[in-house]
Amino acid sequence: MENILKSEMGFQPTQPMLPTLFTVDSKIQETHDTWSLFLNNSNGNSLQEFSPGQFNMLYAYGVGEVPISISGNCQNQNSLVHTIRNVGMVSNALCGLNQGDQVGVRGPFGTSWPMEKFKGKDVIIVSGGIGLAPLRPAVYHILNNRDDYNHVALAYGARAPEEILYPKQIMEWRSHLDLQVRVTVDSSDQKWHGQVGVVTTLIPRLNIDPDNAVALVCGPEVMIRFGVRELIKYGLDTDQIWVSMERNMKCGIGLCGHCQLGPDFICKDGAVYNYVKAERFFKTKEL
């Protein structure tokens, strides 16, 4: 795993529960319930560095704080990007922020997709729903360093066509000849001409060499479970698979206890795991 990159500006290790203020530079509505916020450091300082797969704790004034993956490009120093689905009180407040509004940021926290380790490999990215957000920095990283990687495939599943995240970007990625992009939806009406079915059905049709491949998986836990099963069937070993776990988090720094899963604190020992380490989490119901 790559080391956690601690910011030199903003985040203060001496006051780890105190957010740094960022200002909303712009926002984009991604789907009917999902927005991306583009943030800049309110004091004008340069942005914190992060690695693909890491998350920040985002604080909405007077409402609360939630863990949100960083969904932007590590090499883009213009703004810090988070894609947020409006599913609760805090995410609702965050999605309701407008240009010029401030938001508190703590982080980045957690482990990351070990992109260095993947050099020279075929890369399969399997994601479902909002699970594409924590994987987008990995896609950016690959595109920024395309020669470092061999065949690259993205298998993405959404519940319905209108739930597809980053649709324009996916279209753009599709135009890359060196990027296989497959999209499926769980259900749809006749207006959808693409594939219907769960994301795991895309895996056998990818042009990837299983012996030299790595897979990055993020989505609902049930999708991870079946995605991993399909990847193994496809010929990958468990140590070729990385997954990102999700748990309730109140602090991001291993002190609140909420994200414990077995001996691990998902906020600092995860959220990104090699499946050899994560396998035990899936073996016991309600661990």
Binding site: P13, M17, R85, G88, P263, T284, E286
Partner: protein, 377 residues
Amino acid sequence: MEIKHLPHDKLNDLFDAIIMSDYTLVGPKEKDGVISYDPIESVDDLPQGIIDHQNPGNYALQKTESSRFFAYTISPFSWKKFLYPPTHSLFKATKNENGISFKVNKDEPKYAFIGVRGCEMTAIAIQDKVFMGGDYIDPSYKKRREQALIVGVECYNTCETCFCDSVGSGPEIPEGSDIVLTEIIEKENHYFLVRSETEKGQNILNQLNLEKADETQSMIKDAQLERVRSQLKRKVKVSGLQSKLKENPNHPRWDEVAERCLACTNCTMVCPTCFCMTVEDINDLDGNTERQRRWDSCFSSEFTYIHGGNTRSSTKAKYRQWLTHKFATWQDQFDSLGCVGCGRCITWCPPGIDITEEVAALSESPDTYHKKESSHG
């Protein structure tokens, strides 16, 4: 460290010396029918002669004729409530046309704890690792902890529910306290043996003019501790437990204990090592806000809530998480047990679930384990 002799009527001189060094004195005191740890002013506040009867799901005080100041065993409260208060302000924030601004209160009280037991000192050392031993340090805990003065008092009585010896947390007071007292009454003689463990403790004792204790008195102290050790009724067999708990997440005992457990959170609230917290935002009508940290419990209904539901919703899973954490995964995380054998979780469990009994049952092989009638069900 040299052991000194402190006559019982000089105990207040020790308290005065501590108060003169700008500490807020906190110690045992009878309050609301329990021994509470609260601010005290003098020895007059101590629960002289009061003993505590603790049994599974049961707690009662008894006034005796004894002049012993520290006759009780332990309070339902632990010192955690001072080092890691149940609610604590993380920051206050205001918002105006210039934007949001944060304010953090960095002042922390300077406490002197009077009457810390062996198990309790172990619990403090365990929480030190949690809050000060990792990548991120809790600044409030650290400041309170570093400026605290800890005066340990060795146990004279055990309660039915405690089991320090088997988890290696007592009855002797482990390293970490500043001053250690042993209260001794032999015939008409009521005195304390006192020793300092740190420079901070020595500086306090230097203010008192104490004589060296004699050899016989030290022997009485050792015998007293051994008597306490022999009176402990409960025990936990720690060896091999870590792997047994991890390997048997579907042991039938988890289902049985879940039938008795109310998921009321009492065990976690009285536990001196439990550290889980949640956060709460408190807003006023002027538009100001405050973010507070508040004790939480792995038994709380929304503890594991993520969009879509709770990842641990059954009582079985919650109890398994709690007990497995205490005896198994805590060792992975912090290289120690998460249980100090104080027995509070047994005393304060409404249906009287006995953690030592559960551990013993869970240590049996799930294949040969047969459902047994619980004496407390």
